[in-house]
Symmetry: C2
Subunit: 237 residues, 2 copies
């Protein structure tokens, strides 16, 4: 299976002429986009540092690119030093599909009421046990996370959902989005979210929204934030 980590490690290993293993800040399942992904690796090679980003991008395929490279301390880990992850989810909410957004946004043709979706937010924000929104349980079994931000806005045909937390469980963003979509279409009430959370059971929540609407937008560290806007929301007229 071709993975982002595998392709990146192969390019780094080729350039640095030694096997390189990376640590990634945020999970990205197949089909998920990443704009603000952060990875770390260590090497003893003396490759000219200012040319590494250009060398890497010329080696990488066009669906994977590196924005910047910085030297960090030995104790830094892209995964374990992260303080907060931000994901953005894009929904195309109109009757007709869009060829250019087919793999960039989740097409929901039923009209969605953003206010009804927003009414569910108070039941999800804060420190909670998100087990009802978890696909594969983490090895530790710990399913408590702190959801610090949940914003839902409409711009024309597109609905943009942004979530920030200290960490996310497997498929947590997509399952929350799938459940919010059911609130927005009237199939579920915002108040029902309280009992879904309390159930601590994946069967209580809604469908998992598809991977292709999801963007890992950024990772925050002490003194650094990789946040970038998803291209479909970035350059409006």
């Amino acid at each position: 299976v071709r993975t982002v980590a595998g392709v990146l490690e192969a390019a780094l290993s080729l350039i640095l002429k030694e096997p390189v293993k990376i640590s990634s800040a945020g999970r990205t399942d197949a089909g998920v986009h990443a704009i603000g992904q952060v990875v770390s690796f260590s090497t003893l090679r003396a490759f000219p540092f200012d040319r590494l980003c250009i060398a890497l991008n010329s080696e990488l395929p066009d669906d994977l690119s590196v924005r910047e490279i910085t030297i960090v301390g030995d104790d830094f880990s892209a995964r374990f030093s992260a303080l907060e992850r931000t994901y953005v989810y894009a929904i195309l909410n109109r009757r007709e599909p869009s060829a250019l957004l087919a793999r960039r946004a989740f097409h929901v043709w039923l009209p969605l009421d953003v206010d009804a979706m927003l009414a569910a937010a108070p039941h999800l924000l804060g420190e909670r046990d998100f087990r009802s929104f978890c696909g594969v349980l983490p090895e530790s079994g710990a399913t408590v996370r702190t959801l610090r931000r949940l914003e839902i806005t409409r711009r024309g045909d597109l609905i943009r959902i942004e979530m920030a937390a200290d960490g996310f469980l497997h498929r947590m963003v997509r399952t929350i989005v799938g459940t919010l979509v059911e609130c927005g279409s009237g199939r579920r009430t915002a108040e029902s979210l309280a009992s879904i959370v309390a159930a601590r059971d994946r069967a209580a929540s809604g469908n998992t929204a598809p991977a292709h609407g999801l963007y890992l937008a950024g990772v925050r560290y002490e003194g650094y934030d990789s946040y970038c806007e998803a291209p479909i929301f970035e350059h409006g007229r």
Copy 2:
């Protein structure tokens, strides 16, 4: 070869149970995107008109979608009734490439001076012989077109070029863009455009910009305009 027209004709023929030939308003070479394309066809079948758009989209692959369908007079031709076509060209102008824009914008890493590009516009606007910007000559041999609008704007890393004309020659937009990029990077002066136009020779103009940055944005008719913004410029925060 798989073409937009071929895929659309196959879906229409399947639904209407008769061979359908379409007429398209604007040319889209391989790799070019179309948001505001208009096509016309005639049929004697009595398919329930209000369900045709939904039936068609469920038959079409996800990289081709139909926004709306309208009944027109017998004398209407998507191609010959068109009064004006508008194309938008997207350039990503920064050092690093973008995975998500790789097939949606032309990556130019040399810094481009938009003012220098705009200075070339007066030499191109209006009714002119665009033979110097024409790939394959039209059968008629007529290479005079009227360029009514040429706008160049920068939004962050993206440069947006919009051109409207009564019609465009083969590769005309891409050759104008390639020449403007050479003005923007300082390889060519804006004033040199006057002699390029006068030369009536493809060898006088610049490189053809790649297809994947080009969007057919809209076609204007008497009383109707199909114009849509390209998704990368549509939904800014």
